[in-house]
């Protein structure tokens, strides 16, 4: 395409605006990372300076002072637990709703989808009493259940249209070959829906990894705290260790960042289907 000078200027202006916006959007995270590498003196006396020597002291203090080893383990267990429960139950249900028009299925589907709008803080109140009765407080299971039940409607919401779009002919052929309905689901529909399942698995993992509400409500002992509430605990002391706090923020962010970048395509698709 041949461009006039004016066209070229507009294009340069547009690119400049986009680049400036991208830089501005990155500032908070970049700043957090820079601050996490500064020592105390630099942090407090030279707010705008770059880190002089890249100090990892803030990061090591996370493990020596703030229980981050056990919190990391808890966060992993919670996130994987949420993925397993919500993708398994949600995947089966989405397939069921997509393929079998049984009596009452539309009402049940609408009911399930509308629970997506629930205020999490409203659910946490009675759920706290239930978990207390079940003896699951200060146990990662209560957190897994809480996050998973809020995540489940979202998974069905995303996956049902995904299954709807798969060609039925292959599944029918499988039926004729003598597969059971579950066999058709497991051997035919699941592999075909792979990208959709990956999207929801990714977003479910992030939901578990980043949740704050259930941990602060259900667990008060360091043994049962994931990274989010462990990070929050660091703010409650007499002195706030800002360097360590920023390091903790970076530590919490890195896994979701890596996953998001590596699986950007699936993430954006999940975002798009999930509304």
């Amino acid at each position: 395409m041949v461009l006039s000078t004016a066209g070229r200027i507009t294009r340069a202006g547009r690119n400049a605006v986009l680049a400036a916006a991208a830089a501005a959007i990155a500032i908070p995270v970049v700043w957090m990372a820079l601050a996490s590498l500064k020592n105390e003196t630099d942090l407090f006396s030279n707010p705008t300076s770059l880190p002089r020597a890249f100090e990892l002291a803030n990061y090591t203090s996370l493990f020596t002072q703030f229980h981050f080893a056990v919190a990391t383990w808890n966060s992993i267990v919670i996130s994987l637990g949420v993925v397993v429960i919500s993708v398994t139950l949600g995947g089966l249900a989405a397939y069921g709703f997509s393929r079998y028009d049984f009596r009452g299925s539309r009402v049940l589907l609408a009911g399930l989808l509308i629970t997506r709008m629930i205020t999490p803080a409203a659910l946490v109140v009675p759920l706290y009493l239930i978990m207390s009765a079940l003896g699951l407080l200060n146990n990662v299971f209560s957190i897994i259940i809480g996050v998973a039940v809020l995540n489940l409607p979202f998974v069905v919401w995303v996956l049902k249209p995904f299954f709807d779009a798969l060609p039925r002919e292959i599944e029918e052929a499988g039926m004729l070959d003598g597969l059971t309905p579950f066999g058709v689901f497991w051997r035919i529909a699941v592999p075909l829906a792979g990208p959709g399942l990956l999207s929801v698995a990714l977003l479910s993992f992030i939901a578990g990894w980043t949740d704050l509400l259930f941990p602060i409500s259900f667990s008060s002992t360091p043994d049962a705290m994931p990274l989010t509430s462990a990070l929050l605990q660091m703010q409650t002391g007499y002195k706030i260790y800002w360097g360590a706090l920023m390091a903790g923020g970076v530590y919490l962010t890195v896994p979701t960042l890596i996953l998001s970048f590596a699986l950007q395509k699936y993430l954006v698709r999940g975002m798009r289907l999930g509304y």
Binding site: P47, I85, F102, A110, T119, A122, V125, L152, E171, L213
Partner: protein
């Protein structure tokens, strides 16, 4: 032919074709049972940990109950609802949440739409290697806030806006305690930052799905960039904009918690005590589970109304 998988009615029509080893009635029963069997685990889970708790919430809202102080709940009649209706704390919280929702969603939509429009223009010419590379890099930047956990983003903003050692005040040579002096505005900025990518990517996808021929036609008619946006892009993506805004508004109103909890904790005073935070504090800080339940019932009703209208918007927009 999808008879075998959809409904008994169609299966009946297909009698005599294919390996008809079962009667239509058997087919129908099998479909009913399989459908129920596949969905039952999820429904049972949702019933146990969503429907039942919400039902017990209604019961709890008519009681006086402080689990850490006493093990018994006493009948409170309508007193919790009377408190909700009459309390300035509650009214203020709803007002704050409403202001937060409107302003935050407004900013997200405006910035998200502007950036998506520019980004789409860039991608359309991505036959050029430079544009392609640039759009890839920009995408990675734009996804950053979405990929950052809300609590980490909130901490980052708290640091940025810190009166003593935040870079913003250092650059402005001021000592404004942003989260204390302009609490709601600061919270809104942090929330908008976190959610702009969501709007951006949805709108971006909508713009890219417009037929390139239409832009070609507009150009041949001599439309300038603004006219192109105003009379072509905007009308075409209006349904997506409506659904996105509605979705964001419902989410902002019902789910705002982490960012406020971490940055202002609802303060100063109750200036940023958004509704979800008020429910949580009433239960877990003040230990009035009965009052918290009444608030939660109100929240669930608001969610149900918003959710139903959202489904309606979605249906209207997609037709």
């Amino acid at each position: 032919m999808d008879g075998a998988l959809t409904s008994g009615q169609k299966a009946r029509g297909s009698r005599g074709r294919g390996p008809a080893l079962t009667t239509p009635a058997d087919w129908n029963r099998r479909i009913q049972l399989t459908g129920l069997g596949l969905t039952l685990p999820a429904l049972a889970f949702a019933f146990a940990f969503m429907v039942y708790p919400v039902a017990s919430l209604v019961l709890l809202s008519f009681q006086d109950y402080s689990p850490l102080r006493s093990t018994t709940a006493t009948n409170a009649g309508l007193s919790n609802y009377a408190w909700v209706a009459g309390s300035d704390l509650v009214h203020k919280s709803i007002w704050v949440t409403l202001v937060f929702t409107v302003v935050s969603v407004g900013i997200e939509m405006a910035v998200g739409l502007a950036l998506a429009t520019l980004l789409a223009k860039l991608v359309v010419e991505s036959r050029r290697l430079f544009s392609l590379a640039l759009s890839r890099v920009l995408n990675s930047f734009f996804i950053l806030p979405f990929a950052t956990p809300a609590i980490a983003g909130a901490l980052a903003w708290k640091m940025l806006l810190h009166p003593q050692f935040g870079p913003v005040d250092a650059i402005l040579h001021g000592d404004i305690a942003w989260f204390a002096q302009y609490p709601l505005a600061s919270v809104i900025v942090a929330d908008a930052w976190k959610t702009i990518p969501f709007v951006l990517f949805l709108v971006f996808a909508a713009i890219l799905s417009i037929e390139p021929d239409m832009y070609e036609a507009a150009r041949l008619d001599g439309a300038n960039a603004w006219q192109e946006f105003r009379y072509l892009t905007l009308p075409m993506i209006l349904p997506v904009l409506a659904v996105t805004a509605a979705f964001r508004a419902v989410d902002a109103f019902t789910k705002i918690f982490d960012i406020v909890f971490v940055t202002t904790g609802g303060g100063p005073g109750t200036d940023t005590q958004v509704f979800p935070l008020l429910i949580w504090r009433t239960a877990f800080d003040y230990l009035h589970f009965g009052q918290a339940a009444a608030l939660a019932v109100v929240a669930v009703l608001i969610s149900a109304v918003l959710g139903a209208s959202l489904l309606a918007v979605r249906r209207t927009a997609s037709t």
